[in-house]
């Protein structure tokens, strides 16, 4: 039997490995599986380090911002400098804690003002390990009651939805991801249309007919039609309007700062939620409820 020439062995190995991965891709598409076991192992192994890294990085950042950066201003007297350094270090720690307390207080206020909606606060400990998707990893998971398809928000607005859960962690698909979407409507004109991500900082609202009037800067809020997010939560503001065929191309600036998330709230319910609104709601959904990420033509109220 004729063997493979040695110098071609690596080429054969390359072909074999590529074919194997292509087959793995095909199996995932065909069976709609996501290789959950491998992901659970990997995330389980990495998340403790991410948690530790996130905490220590936060400490270093606070120390750097509030201590080392100010060190040059305290050279007049060695004694005073030492004393100052100690005080500054304490201040930096207190400032870090105060900033964290402010953020947590905002979350708590929001939580208390919407006591009827079950939710839990979680800390962001990781982001997607590449640019192909936009996800964040939370430090809470199945043991805290988090399940797949639960909504994730901040007091500023909608963040995304839970797409994967692990015992002590959960993965959230951000609104800016290409495969993400939320049932939304324009706050003034009450025109309903899903808002989705496109892998960029701005979101897109695709299904608003050219005949409808949309104003620059108009607020976009959740419509509640996706059965994940309650109605009237801020999604963003209209940042760009272009005529399209047959729908307008409307780009939305997200209300929540999705580039810098540190703490979020997870809506602990898989049933449609209602949230108390300060303004009376005019919209009355008449169209059947749309699942998230399923584009539907706009419904004008």
């Amino acid at each position: 039997m004729v063997g493979i020439p040695s110098r071609h062995k690596s080429l054969v190995l390359l072909a074999g490995v590529i074919v194997l991965q292509v087959l793995m891709l095909a199996v995932q598409i065909k069976r709609n599986s996501e290789g959950r076991l491998i992901r659970v192992w990997t995330v389980g192994a990495v998340s403790p380090f991410e948690r530790a890294g996130s905490n220590s990085f936060g400490w270093i950042r606070n120390t750097w911002r509030h201590y080392f950066a100010l060190q040059n201003t305290t050279r007049e007297n060695e004694e005073i400098r030492r004393e100052n350094d100690v005080l500054k270090l304490q201040i930096s720690q207190l400032q870090g804690k105060a900033a964290e307390a402010d953020r947590l207080a905002a979350l708590l206020n929001f939580r208390q003002s919407h006591a009827e909606v079950p939710m839990i606060a979680a800390r962001v400990i990781g982001v997607s390990a590449g640019t192909a998707s936009r996800t964040i990893q939370l430090d809470r998971g199945e043991r805290d009651g988090i399940r797949k398809n639960m909504g994730v928000i901040t007091p500023d607005g909608v963040v995304g939805k839970v797409v994967e859960t692990y015992p002590n962690a959960a993965l959230v698909l951000l609104l800016t991801d290409k495969e993400s979407g939320v049932g939304a409507m324009l706050a003034d004109s009450r025109i309903q249309s899903p808002v989705g991500g496109q892998g960029e900082p701005l979101l897109i609202m695709k299904y608003v007919p050219n005949d409808d009037t949309v104003n620059f800067g108009e607020r976009v809020i959740t419509s509640g039609m996706d059965r994940i997010f309650p109605r009237d939560l801020p999604v963003g503001t209209v940042a760009e309007i272009k005529a399209g065929n047959p729908f307008k191309q409307i780009r939305i600036k997200p209300a929540a700062n999705l580039e810098r998330l540190e703490e979020v709230l997870v809506l602990l319910s898989l049933r449609p939620l209602e949230m108390k609104s300060e303004e009376p709601t005019q919209a009355k959904p008449s169209a059947p409820s749309a699942p998230v990420a399923t584009p539907q033509p706009a419904v004008r109220r």
């Binding site: 992901r39 990997t42 996130s54 390990a129 998707s133 964040i136």
Partner: protein
């Protein structure tokens, strides 16, 4: 460069050996930083540290078989950490090919000069993104743009970071 021709007839120019565990630790560290650094610096998401590590060890080890296997390992781990919207194999395929190409080129060219490292990383980054676009468009039937200015900027940033990162990783070599 110490060229060696092994008994099996395959040209292995394995000039650089690394300290025990260095490759695994560097790989895991790159993945960990990649998945946690952008929380604090959003712009850091433009970096692809796992790719830079794949390129570095490919160029240094200069063995196509180990280069492609390391690329596959790193790529699949990156897939697992990227959430369910990224199927296992997307980064895996791209990094397998980059690992193979890097180690094949490393065996033929001088890749120690910073200018060569800059140029090679730039080219590999573009190739890597091209492979991802091909996989998305052909195998996954997902719309994906072929080219944009962001890609060029990202390639330049990664190439620049690679020059300094590779100098750092050179310290892991056995003397």
């Amino acid at each position: 460069m110490n060229d060696a021709f092994d008994i099996r007839g395959e040209s292995h120019i394995e000039v650089h050996k690394f300290r025990t565990g260095a490759i695994i630790i560097a790989t895991l560290l790159a993945l960990l930083i990649q998945s946690s650094f952008p929380i604090h610096f959003a712009k850091a998401a433009v970096l692809d540290l796992p790719l830079l590590v794949t390129i570095y060890f490919g160029l240094s080890r200069r063995n196509p078989s180990t280069g492609l296997l390391l690329g596959m390992f790193i790529g699949l781990l990156q897939d697992s950490l990227s959430g369910p919207t990224v199927p296992l194999g997307l980064y895996g395929i791209a990094k397998t090919i980059i690992g193979y190409l890097a180690s094949s080129i490393g065996a033929r060219l001088d890749t120690e000069h910073p200018a060569a490292r800059f140029a090679l990383t730039f080219a590999f980054f573009i190739t890597h993104q091209g492979l991802i676009v091909i996989t998305r468009r052909i195998l996954l039937v997902q719309p994906e743009p072929w080219f944009n200015m962001h890609l060029i900027v990202a390639a330049l940033v990664n190439a620049l970071v690679a020059v300094f990162l590779f100098l750092l990783l050179d310290r892991l070599r056995k003397n």
